[in-house]
């Protein structure tokens, strides 16, 4: 049960943090239409996070109210989060952001496929709805890369960005503790960390570049140095008056 809760939280936390970080580009993407599209995608990811937090709350026998979801999303001690360094990382420029967007959505697709037909019924039930939206996320990321990789200057910036992100890539497919049991009980098809070679192959094909050999699973027990500043940005308004009723 702990492993299942951790698996769901890991997915929810990654969706939450990537959604938040995408939406931080509101108003500053290179052009207006991209601004709308990218923040929409961020909004979708936040929606997926909320669905997954609801599943975690069900496991805790708690009603999935907005307050309960907020409290899971914003108010846990950092060691109770199960997010990855890849989604905690704050990108330095648009190139890193676009590369992370593409890599994340590839990893996300592999994770949803991994829970398709899950024996944990509530998880299996949200797959179709979420993956229908993910098609557009990947179309968006691929269309941008199609355009930018064809340009020498843009392409070299993207490949540099990929090199900088490469060490973090394996963390997004890190397993939670106890995944072997989840495989045995058919909650997931295979351990999350065994999806990494597929992700690396997809990156190879897309960028024509093999990223540094992936490190073995790093687990999801500790947070990277980007986490605390990110959480403080996310809680900025909330922290002005924690007792306020919204």
């Amino acid at each position: 049960m702990i492993a299942l809760r951790d698996l769901i939280l890991a997915f929810a936390d990654d969706e939450h943090l990537i959604g938040q970080q995408h939406t931080e580009w509101i108003g500053v993407t290179p052009f207006l239409e991209e601004d709308l599209a990218f923040s929409s995608i961020g909004q979708d990811e936040l929606g997926h996070a909320a669905l997954l937090y609801e599943l975690a709350l069900e496991l805790d026998d708690l009603a999935p109210s907005d307050t309960a979801i907020d409290s899971l999303a914003y108010e846990r001690p950092s060691d109770e989060y199960r997010s990855s360094a890849f989604t905690e990382y704050t990108t330095n420029d648009w190139a890193e952001t676009i590369v992370r967007h593409w890599v994340y959505d590839q990893a996300e697709m592999l994770r949803w496929i991994n829970v398709t037909g899950s024996s944990h019924q509530p998880l299996a039930e949200i797959v179709d709805r979420v993956t229908a939206e993910e098609v557009y996320h990947r179309l968006h990321a691929d269309a941008i890369l199609d355009s930018l990789l064809a340009n020498a200057d843009a392409s070299s910036r993207l490949v540099d960005a990929l090199e900088r992100l490469a060490p973090l890539v394996p963390t997004v497919l890190a397993s939670v503790d106890g995944e072997d049991d989840l495989v045995k009980h058919r909650v997931i098809r295979q351990r999350t960390d065994t999806l990494l070679p597929d992700l690396v192959t997809n990156i190879d094909i897309r960028f024509g570049r093999t990223i540094t050999a992936p490190t073995p699973s790093v687990g999801r027990r500790s947070r990277s140095s980007s986490f605390a500043p990110l959480m403080s940005r996310m809680r900025e308004v909330f922290d002005i008056d924690p007792a306020a009723i919204w």
Binding site: F31, L32, E33, E34, L36, A37, S40, I41, Y136, L139, H140, D142, A143, I144, D146, S147, L148
Partner: protein, 91 residues
Amino acid sequence: MATYEVFLKKDGRDEFRHAGALDAANDDLALVLARESYLRRAEGNRLWLVRRDNLIIAGEDFVEPNTDKPHRHHDGSAVAAHRKATRESKT
């Protein structure tokens, strides 16, 4: 980058209507951006994009001479007035 004109149509009898325009680097991106910029709240069920480059655009003076042809605005009033005058002259 190219500019695309966006047309939307709702299911039913309504025709495609011009909704606006957007800039995009390629056709795929134009579709995604149109979906997020003009269809966020299901404003239409069908979407057309036309690259502005592909529009055939008439010059203003090509159209202008037709602004001064009142005889083509026949709403029937001239005929009605004529018939009325004829009718009244007979009585």
